[in-house]
Every structure is written in C-alpha cells, then in structure tokens.
C-alpha cells in the first residue's frame, strides 16, 4: 500500500496538484498527487478509472500512497510521452467537440449525454506526438 521508491534526484516538474518524477530506464513518469482537486479520495480514484477507460495509451498505474511532510499523496505511474510539437488549444477543442463535448469554461469540457466533465485540458496536460494528441493529465468528474 505504501510507496517506498522515492528519489528526488529524478524530479521532472510539478503542477498545482502533483509532483512529477521521471524514470528514463522505463520511459515512464511517476506522479505524486495530493488530491487537492477532489472532494475525497474516492472521487480521485473515479477520475483515474475513467481516465484509464478513455485514454488507455496514457493510463495511470496506481503504485501506492506516500506521506511527505504530513501530506498524503497517491502515487501513479504513466508512460512518458515525448512532445514533438507544442499543443494548440484549438486542436484540443476540435477533438473534444467532435466527441460530443461542449466547453464549460476555459479548458473544461462537459459531455451531457454521458454525464462526464473533463477539466484542466491545457497545453501542458495534452501533448502532441507525431500529430496525435495524448491526454497525460486530466481531472474527470461524474456529473
């Protein structure tokens, strides 16, 4: 249950809700998420499960929990995607519209029929490799 492979020397980046570490040998990233975007851990894991259903090539693999300075983090691994060009917001919008989503507000989309909300789809969370979009960080809620 507890993650015990912490190596700060491979720190890569971080956002509002998570720290990202890089495993060059496996070409994977490890993400420590404090769940700040979610009401509770159940909602966080719902988001992870739905992400894995929708985006199988960038699925999260749960590794355990970690406590740092009294903050609890969920640790997940994910395939690393090398960005080959910068992402255009319009490309994300076009794809989301084509899948039946509508814009809720900037970078946040809702699919009314499926009752899905996918948030935080900005250029650093959806990468481009060889003209294909890869959703590497999503915040998903059930409506």
């Amino acid at each position: 249950m507890w993650y015990d492979n912490l190596q700060f020397s491979i720190y890569l980046s971080e956002g509002a809700e998570q720290k990202v570490f890089f495993n060059a040998q496996q070409n994977k990233v490890t993400k420590f998420n404090d769940g700040i975007f979610y009401v509770n851990w159940t909602q966080y894991f719902e988001s992870i499960i739905i992400h894995n259903i929708l985006f199988s090539e960038t699925a999260y693999d749960f590794s355990g929990f970690l406590m740092i300075n009294k903050t609890l983090y969920a640790v997940v691994e994910q395939n690393y995607i090398e960005p080959t060009e910068k992402t255009e917001i319009k490309a994300i919008q076009d794809l989301m519209y084509s899948k039946g989503f509508s814009l809720k507000r900037r970078n946040d989309y809702v699919h009314h029929e499926l009752g899905l909300i996918i948030e935080d789809l900005h250029e650093e969370n959806v990468l481009v490799n060889n003209e294909l979009l890869y959703f590497i960080d999503t915040v998903i809620y059930l409506k």
Binding site: A24, N27, F55, I81, P83, E124, N129, L132
Partner: protein, 54 residues
C-alpha cells in the same frame, strides 16, 4: 421508428487510442535532461502561466 444509440464511454476515444497504438514505436525514449528541457520548452509560451482558475 428511429433508434438513437448512445455511445459508451470506452468507445469515445477508441479511434484515437488505435492511432496512438500504431504510433507507439515512434515515441522516443529520452534522458532525464532531455525530458527537463522539453518541460521548459512546453512551459515557454511567452504568456503568463495559466492556472485552473483563470
């Protein structure tokens, strides 16, 4: 009578996933230093950093 079929969640991005599977071999392995440079390059938008609230 017209039947409307509601798409299942797992079907939603299935076409994209199929293309991504085919592209898998083209995804290059990078070093930690390259990955850090790519993060910096992605963040260098020339505009103020956005957050979820703005």
């Amino acid at each position: 009578m017209i039947k409307t079929t509601i798409i299942k969640p797992y079907q939603l991005f299935a076409d994209l996933a199929e293309k991504q599977k085919k592209n898998k071999a083209n995804i290059r392995k990078v070093t930690l230093e390259e990955a850090r440079r790519l993060v910096a390059w992605l963040k260098d938008t020339g505009e103020e950093k956005r957050t979820r609230d703005n």
